[in-house]
């Protein structure tokens, strides 16, 4: 009986296959217009490089990784993925407003864990994703989704291993979610 009520309360999301077709068309259009796919982690990389470059320009210029993304004529924020990622945020805002999901600040978690545990896990998860996306040459958007769609072997590899690892370690972290 309870289950019925809960199902009615479930947030109204669009049909996942319909969502997938829309996402696929957005990705196809992106390839058609720009010749490249979508991305997300690249914007944070630009933000990191910009911050370090502002705070300690000499240090940033000497760092063999960051110096790849610094140019004399424009800021690292002047980058396709930065504008696109800002768009992702606005798109989320529009959809959230349309479907009534923008609410006061909140933490989403399993009832079995505390807010502190959830935020700690989210922070560590973010750090790992940040490091992994640099080694992986992109995250779920840039490597797994766009890479696989453009038939890149590395993209397929990242997709399979990322989700595969998720399944392998899911058991140990089940309390975070179920």
């Amino acid at each position: 009986m309870n289950q019925e009520i809960d199902i009615q309360d479930r947030p109204k999301y669009i049909n996942p296959y319909f969502g997938g077709v829309l996402l696929g068309l957005v990705l196809l259009l992106t390839f058609y217009i720009t010749g490249r796919g979508l991305g997300a982690s690249g914007a944070v990389k630009s933000a990191v490089v910009t911050t370090v470059d502002q705070v300690a320009p000499e240090h940033a210029g000497q760092n063999t990784y960051m110096k790849n993304f610094i140019s004399d004529d424009h800021s690292p924020m002047y980058n396709w993925l930065v504008f696109e990622s800002f768009g992702i945020f606005i798109g989320g805002l529009l959809s959230g407003a349309l479907f009534g999901r923008i609410k006061k600040l909140r933490i989403e978690k399993s009832p079995k864990i505390t807010n502190k545990t959830r935020l700690f896990a989210a922070g560590i998860g973010g750090i790992l994703f940040g490091i992994g996306s640099q080694f992986g040459r992109g995250c779920s958007s840039g490597a797994a989704l766009s890479g696989t769609a453009s038939s890149s072997f590395g993209g397929l590899l990242v997709m399979l291993l990322m989700f595969g690892t998720g399944y392998v370690v899911a058991y140990f972290f089940r309390k975070l979610w179920i």
Partner: protein
């Protein structure tokens, strides 16, 4: 013939306007599909919600088939499409690290931006973590610089790796996707039957 910007059909000046518009479409679809919720996303790993697999595989299938047909009709020059280069060992390591980060964080970078948009504090912390993670990677880069550039296989495609055509791989992927949709639908039905609550 596409791609439009590299071919100079749309001038470069429009690049960032288009980036913003594409991002808005991308973010809208992610949020509308339910990716602004971490418990929705991680359902794919515990069997109670396979929305990630459905959206992801459908999108790959649509874009892959689309690119093949665009090429067939002569609408796009596939040689000008960016193929992500493969660096074998660093990408294996990176994907494994991301897999663990996925389970702990419940988001990937793109989805966390949409979750911030609707007010999720956990997504803000996740994105803060991303910033810190990339910062740490950059700072310690000299220690693993050699490894980072190792295993370079260039812009190798899936077809080239397996010695088949990319068109054939597209077909194989479609079959795998359809089977996965069916199997995960059955799994989801069984898992949900035993769940007392489903409200995210």
């Amino acid at each position: 013939m596409g791609p439009l910007i590299p071919q100079g059909i749309i001038p470069m000046g429009w690049d960032f306007v288009i980036a913003l518009l594409i991002g808005i479409a991308f973010g809208f679809v992610l949020e509308a599909s339910g990716f602004s919720s971490s418990r929705n996303i991680t359902g794919v790993f515990y069997g109670y919600n396979f929305v990630v697999l459905r959206v992801f595989f459908t999108a790959v299938v649509v874009a892959m088939i689309g690119l093949q047909y665009f090429d067939y009709f002569g609408w796009i020059d596939l040689n000008q499409i960016y193929v992500l280069p493969t660096y074998l060992s660093p990408m294996i390591v990176g994907a494994i690290i991301m897999g663990v980060g996925f389970i702990l964080g419940g988001f990937c970078p793109g989805t966390s931006y949409t979750a911030i948009a609707i007010g999720k504090i956990d997504a803000m912390v996740f994105t803060g973590g991303l910033f810190l993670g990339i910062f740490l990677f950059s700072e310690f880069f000299p220690f693993f610089e050699q490894f980072y550039y190792s295993g370079n296989m260039g812009n190798i495609t899936i077809g080239e790796f397996f010695g088949i055509s990319n068109t054939l791989f597209t077909l194989i992927f479609v079959v795998i996707a359809v089977v996965a949709f069916y199997v995960t639908w059955r799994i989801e039905l069984r898992v949900r039957k035993n769940m007392t609550q489903y409200k995210f």
